[in-house]
């Protein structure tokens, strides 16, 4: 089948999509956007988190066909033309990135959290990121990164 959708502000049209393909596969293997990661393909790890019409989803659990006429934002779409998004910058500076395989999903999840809640408490951060597995960092510096991003965003807003 053919699927048309918008990804990171650009229109994509992909052909010969097999019904069983996930949005994650379509992004990674058909649209040249491998930033979203596949670490379980089961909705357990959050590495594939993308926005689908402004809602974060596990792209591995969305059929490619369901993306028809929808608007998708992936990790590749977070940064501006010139600068990293504050959430990306904070992950980098806080040391929240080791192997980085969890990072794309965590960035989208954190981006979403800070859209909803400007200054989340620690328990709120933990709850919001509970669906994103990281095997390298023990999460301490991820927590630091989220708080750093929140304070940067607050500074920028004032």
């Amino acid at each position: 089948m053919r699927v048309k959708c918008t990804v990171n502000g650009e229109k994509h049209e992909i052909d010969d999509v097999w019904e069983g393909e996930s949005l994650l596969y379509a992004l990674r293997e058909r649209m040249g956007l491998p930033g979203s990661k596949n670490a379980c393909e089961q909705g357990e790890c959050g590495s594939c988190t993308v926005y689908l019409d402004q809602t974060p989803v596990c792209a591995c659990l969305v059929a490619a066909g369901q993306a028809q006429d929808r608007d998708i934002v992936t990790v590749e779409g977070l940064a501006g033309e010139e600068k990293l998004h504050p959430v990306q910058q904070a992950f980098l500076e806080a040391g929240a990135v080791q192997c980085g395989f969890c990072t794309p999903g965590l960035l989208v999840a954190t981006h979403d959290l800070l859209e909803r809640e400007e200054q989340p408490s620690d328990p709120e951060i933990r709850e919001a990121l509970a669906g994103n597995l990281c095997r390298c960092t023990g999460y301490e510096k991820i927590l630091d990164a989220v708080k750093l991003a929140a304070s940067r965003k607050a500074e920028a807003a004032t």
């Binding site: 040249g32 930033g35 990661k37 379980c40 990281c134």
Partner: protein, 845 residues
């Protein structure tokens, strides 16, 4: 072959002629990168991956590649010397999604590989029928062991594992046949169409029976054909023993006032890295193959592949692709040989990427252990003797079992001074999943045994467990159970004191609870009733680097030259960056030794000599040592040049701030003016001081290079009615000799502690009759951000005079002591014995 995608380092500092799959990590970007060799296949990365006009032959891909990054690499413009914490040079690519992991490798005409695996833990193969699989449209190749041109065996220490099974399978998940097709789903369907006729055999799953069962008595010998079977004869006897290592020290008849016995078990833990086993094999025009791969040791992969493919090393070229975590699971081959076989057979690039389920069958795990300990002490708490038997289940193939046995046995009493020791370590073959390297291997299992014993002994003596440990703490100058005298800092007592003195979290308030902070969390299983708090402390010991006389070296090439009017250092090694930050540290060393700001890290590949394994907490030590040594040679030559040009003795000059400086007269010249057109390049093969084999009868010998220590204190809340556990706080004190990059050191301690927490309370591959019951992240649980408590980390820096910069390996120690500390805290909260990890609810209620 279609024109491969090429990377275009539009903004990276990639100026090298090498393949760029793994990319060079530029520490400071000037925006002047020149084009790399465009004949190389490359990872397709969004953004920076493709900007050249002639490198994209696929419009869909091009659409995906439009979002180019024009200035992002500038984000990684950070200098930093040894002891500072500059940002990761690959960090910007990782946060923009552009970093090319092995599973992101892509070529327009590539095929997808898939593997048929045995459903049985032990069976004979009567026949394999490929007819239907081959017929499936889109299938390019279906291969079995008959298609292996070289030797059909591989293995880290003993080549005992078939690349593709011949007439027997020894574990569930053993590879039998491989397929290449034009779509991953087609490949999977073809795998399903292969018909294998198995004669199912009774699996041997009890490691004690495997080791000591009577061979005449129906116990099969899993590797009957001598060395092919793995264990060096003489060490394993005639049974399913890969290695038996006895350690004997002092008086075997020693007696003590107080004796405690214990039997302990450690379950099978998985490394559970997030980036699956994956890579891309590309057939080359010279008949060889180029493999882009996530691994821990390129050269040991290469060596094994050469044997399997029947090719010289020059034709089997490996480049490190981005690695999504490793933790030991990438020490053995997984899909490497399969992808190369398929690529060479079809003449097309072949990508393989395991699903999470397949990953559980595709790599070795942490050895499960059964341990019997006996500790004898005087009334004052002084240990008199330790006796132990440690049985490690290596599963179907040897992998690194011999080294795991050595660690468990030589470190089996822990970081304590004990004069009388009798330990027997065994590694055995069974039909369980193969086990090998995982962070802290051997030392992790033993630590759960000896630290549980120390608590039991403290209890029997009526002594404080920290006091008992301090009273027996080893220190510099003592003799280990192997007779090796410890010749650098061993601050065991100090680490215990520090971790014990850290502030405790506030007591839980029964009236103002937050569900999220109680055991069971938002499942709303308690409002505080039935919740008991416990505190536990533990300490562990780990050897750093490879032991027992292994020729453990690393190779580094360092080049200093003027590029675009700036002095630039380039560092090239084959040492695998797996997330730990070795690339950052290499650049820090070059900046420190050469006084330059700009450092480029060359892509990691087999074009240079081996960097050794990224394991045993050894890379900063050994590859760091090699980079330092190569820099020193380069510096010597540059200062000689400067001395000639400036008319000063070289000894009076040094390099700093991209300048040649004299202590007496300050800045003498810019480095660029001294170098001019000269390119100063040195390659060094660097070794740590030698180690020696252990006596096979007594386990005596100077087998280890360096010892490292970490201590943890855990605070837990346990719902004693439901058996639910919440770790409230987990604090760590560790000596690292020299914190080369303090932020990265702390990151290692956090991550290692989390894996120890996982082993303590949740992580286990459940194996019944040789079959894995939980090969998914739904059923194999690793800690989430809700499970990990806040940590306070205290880093000591007591220099080891034998090591570069005085550093001590960092990665493994925190994984070792966190598990027993958490279990001690659960015991304190519940009063239960808890002799097995992971602790499960039914152990508590």
């Amino acid at each position: 072959m279609n024109t491969p995608m090429t990377p275009s380092p539009a903004r990276s500092d990639q100026r090298l002629d090498a393949p760029i799959t793994g990319r060079g990590w530029s520490v400071r970007d000037s925006g002047r990168g020149s084009h790399p060799d465009t004949s190389q296949p490359i990872a397709r990365t969004a953004g920076g991956g493709s900007r050249g006009p002639d490198d994209v032959d696929n419009t869909v891909t091009r659409t995906g590649l439009v979002k180019a990054t024009s200035t992002r690499m500038d984000q990684s413009s950070h200098s930093g010397k040894v002891g500072e914490s500059p940002l990761r040079p690959d960090g910007t690519l990782k946060v923009t999604g552009e970093f090319a992991y092995s599973s992101d490798m892509w070529l327009a005409d590539m095929l997808w590989g898939a593997t048929l695996r045995s459903p049985h833990p032990y069976a004979c193969i009567r026949s394999v029928d490929l007819t239907e699989a081959v017929k499936l449209p889109g299938v390019y190749a279906v291969l079995t062991h008959e298609d292996v041109p070289g030797e059909n065996l591989y293995g880290l220490e003993h080549a005992d594992q078939p690349v593709l099974a011949v007439d027997v399978v020894r574990y569930q998940g053993e590879a039998v046949a491989i397929v290449a097709a034009d779509h991953p789903e087609t490949a999977r369907r073809a795998v399903e169409k292969i018909v294998v006729d198995y004669e199912v055999l009774e699996p041997l799953v009890d490691p004690e029976v495997a080791a000591f069962g009577d061979m005449a008595d129906d116990v099969p010998r899993l590797h009957p054909d001598g060395n092919k079977g793995g264990g060096p004869e003489g060490q394993g006897g005639g049974k399913n023993i890969v290695r038996h290592l006895p350690i004997r020290k002092g008086n075997p008849e020693a007696t003590a006032d107080v004796v405690v016995h214990g039997e302990y078990e450690v379950g099978m833990q998985d490394q559970a890295f997030l980036g699956p086993e994956s890579g891309l094999a590309v057939p080359a025009e010279d008949g060889g193959v180029d493999l882009y791969i996530a691994t821990q040791w390129l050269h040991v992969d290469q060596k094994q592949l050469c044997r399997v493919l029947g090719m010289p090393a020059a034709k089997v070229r490996l480049t490190l692709a981005g690695v999504g975590g490793a933790f030991g699971a990438r020490e053995d081959l997984s899909m490497q040989a399969h992808a190369c076989l398929l690529a060479l057979h079809t003449g097309k690039p072949v990508k393989m990427s395991y699903s999470r389920e397949e990953s559980f069958f595709g790599h070795v795990h942490r050895h499960p252990a059964k341990m019997r300990y006996e500790h004898g002490a005087n009334r004052d708490g002084k240990l008199v003797y330790v006796k132990a038997q440690i049985i490690l289940d290596g599963g179907a193939y040897a992998s690194s079992t011999p080294a795991v046995v050595a660690n468990a046995a030589t470190l089996g009493v822990g970081p304590y001074k004990v004069n009388n020791v009798a330990i027997d370590g065994y590694g055995v073959y069974t039909n369980n999943p193969p086990c090998g390297a995982m962070r802290g291997f051997g030392a992790v299992q033993a630590a759960f045994g000896y630290e549980s014993q120390m608590d039991k002994l403290a209890d029997a003596l009526g002594m404080d467990p920290v006091e008992l440990r301090i009273r027996n703490a080893m220190a510099e100058g003592i003799s280990m159970p192997t007779g090796q005298v410890v010749d650098s800092a061993a601050p065991v007592a100090e680490l215990l004191r520090r971790v014990a003195a850290m502030p405790l979290p506030p007591e839980p308030q029964q009236d103002s609870y937050d569900l999220r902070q109680l055991p069971g969390g938002v499942s709303n299983t308690t409002h505080g009733e039935g919740v008991r708090r416990g505190v536990g402390i533990a300490i562990g010991i780990k050897n750093v680097c490879f032991s027992e006389g292994f020729d453990d070296y690393s190779t580094a090439k360092v080049r200093l030259e003027v590029i675009g009017g700036e002095s630039v250092a380039m560092v090239h090694t084959a040492a695998a960056e797996v997330g730990q930050g070795l690339v950052t540290v290499q650049a820090q060393i070059a900046r420190t030794e050469l006084g330059v700001e700009r450092v480029t890290i060359h892509p990691i590949d087999t074009q240079i000599g081996s960097g050794g394994s990224t394991s045993a907490s050894r890379q900063t030590y050994v590859t760091g040592g090699a980079v330092k040594a190569a820099c020193e040679k380069v510096r010597g030559r540059v200062l000689k040049l400067a001395a000639e040009r400036l008319g000063r003795p070289a000894a009076a000059l040094r390099l700093d701030g991209d300048k040649v400086v004299s202590d007496a007269d300050g800045v003498m010249a810019a480095l660029v003016d001294v170098l001019h057109e000269d390119v100063v390049e040195e390659t060094v093969k660097w070794r740590h001081r030698p180690t020696h084999p252990l006596d096979p009868e007594t386990g005596q010998g100077n087998a280890h290079v360096q010892y490292a220590f970490a201590a943890h204190r855990a605070v837990v809340d346990v719902d004693v009615d439901l058996g639910l556990i919440r770790v409230v706080q987990l604090d760590c004190a560790q000596d690292v000799g020299k914190a080369m990059n303090p932020d990265a050191v702390v990151g290692q301690i956090h991550g290692g502690s989390a894996q120890g927490l996982g082993l303590a309370v949740m992580e286990e591959i459940q194996v019944t009759d040789g079959k894995v019951r939980n090969p998914s992240f739904t059923d194999y649980l690793i800690p989430t951000i809700l499970d990990m408590p806040p940590m306070t980390v205290d880093v000591l820096e007591l220099a080891d005079p034998h090591a570069p910069y005085g550093l001590r390996g960092v990665g493994e120690p925190p994984t070792i002591s966190s598990t027993p500390a958490i279990v001690a805290a659960i015991r304190a909260a519940t009063g239960k014995d808890l002799t097995r990890v992971p602790v499960q609810p039914h152990h508590i209620i």
